[in-house]
Amino acid sequence: MFANVFGETTCGIEGVKINVEIDVANGLPAFDIVGLPTMSVREARERVKSALRNSDYPFPMTHITVNLAPADLKKEGSGLDLPIAIGILVSAKYIGQEKTEGKIFVGELSLDGGLRKVNGVLSMIMEAKRSGFKEIYIPKDNAAEGKLVTGIDVYTPQCLRELVQHLQGSIKLEPLPKENILRNLERAYDVDFADVKGQPVARRALEIAAAGGHSILLMGAPGCGKTMLARRLVTILPPVTEAEALEITKIYSIVNMLPDTESVMVERPFRSPHHSVSASALLGGGTYPRPGEVTLSHNGVLFLDELPEFERYTLEMLRQPLEDGEVNISRVKATTTFPSRFLLVAAQNPCPCGFLGDKHHSCTCKQKDIDNYRRKISGPLLDRIDMQINLVRVEFSELESKAQGEASAEIRKRVVAARNRQLERFAESGIYCNSQMTRREVAQHCLLDEAAQAVLGKYFTALHLSARSHDRILKVARTIADLAGCDKITAAHIAEAIQLRTSITR
């Protein structure tokens, strides 16, 4: 008696269709699972056995062989419990083989036959749809993810028994209604740019960063507000688009970090790993690679406070994701590519004591210490940071003034307008903002008028800028022009971009 049903597992952040073949043959009772199962899949044996018995279905006391194809892919997670149980019922003739055609089953079984939540369901549904399946059955706890994908019917049975009765035709389950995920995007933050006194340059730079997704380095004395500003960046970021929300949710679903109430990421993530972070925690890693901080901050913000305190080796790892927007993790057993288009915000002091260049404190560091401190961040890494600005100490008069800074909501309006211009421009190309432009797109979209050309030429030669700087300056200038609502980049836009990039002297 042979049965064939389909399940799903994940590889990297993508779902993979698994063909679950089940053979129930005569012989002494045995239950073998072949096809590279990990420990959690192998343990399905005990769960499936108890779940079937406790749902009042017989567990055949014969020789059961389960094969998970493709055989060369490592199968992870407990989501294969359900297809195995259904397969056994099919081979025991409880359900006709034809009743499982065009359907995919995902779920972990509890011993009483209930269905438990599994990770990565969103990727699995997307993969099921891609492979042409019409129906997918997932645990009720994953329902929120099931509502996101249109074009495939998603069912959420409570327990094994309910699912079997549905397949037999004695009861009828209704597919989940589809839902627009971008509901209630207005979120109240407990911080606001209105709290920030002074720092006009930094405000402007962060506005540009938010509008175009540009990376930024804030340098300043202790207590001048670097961290305070960076934490408020999320409050002015444009709302996620549907495509971005799906990308983020996919990642968070795989690592089981979706917020319990939402189950969908409708906010841009803000990640601020401590400077003791290891290279593989930052980039992603493990025998079977899992996403790291750069991937968890995809379409959001990665904030590295006290940049020189990070291991130099770890920081250099950021080069590939910063340049390519994705990161390749190669291990002996698997190679995976994770997306990592994040907005990098880095903060640091100008020197170990923190007061280099301060008007009122004198720096107590030796030149050698300053050099060592600065040297921790390599030229190639700095070259990849679009804007590098100096923060000055806030004066007492500014601090005590009653005047509120501009509120986040106001800034956000301008950012959203600028971002919409970009989305319109890149509608065809699959990118979302200026910082993601490739060389060719830079040439196509960053058109300079004559005066701007002259300014760029002058400073490029005078400051000995690199070819990469050239493109990055153009991208930032493009965002400044977008904020101003201009189609062409003028001399003023270029000049501001150059200044924001080169205001820190090395």
């Binding site: 005569n26 012989g27 002494l28 009772p29 006391m61």
Partner: protein, 122 residues
Amino acid sequence: MNHRIELGKFGEDFACSYLQKQGYKILYRNFRCRLGEIDIIAVKNDVLSFIEVKTRRQSNSTYGMPREAVNQAKQKKIYRCAELYMQSKGIILTMPVLSFDVIEIITEGTAVKDMHHYPHCF
């Protein structure tokens, strides 16, 4: 004799007569050694079979089928006993074709209700 042994003996007798009807030649019954016991050793078509007989009353069916009781540990025991048997008879060097079988018998009252023979099962 107590009940359990009596039941086992009954099952083994029944299995023997079944095997003989199937054309098996019984070589040995209850081969005992310090490693354990083999219920029946029989031969058919030059295949040497070591047969474990499990008998259970229908009324005890809540404990599972008799064949479920032949677990890994029991199987290993039978392997080693078989080795010892073949050594003692001097036939191990002739490398006979072997078969390890299980016969399960379910009784109701004094009658046999159900019987299954699983040849080559481990």
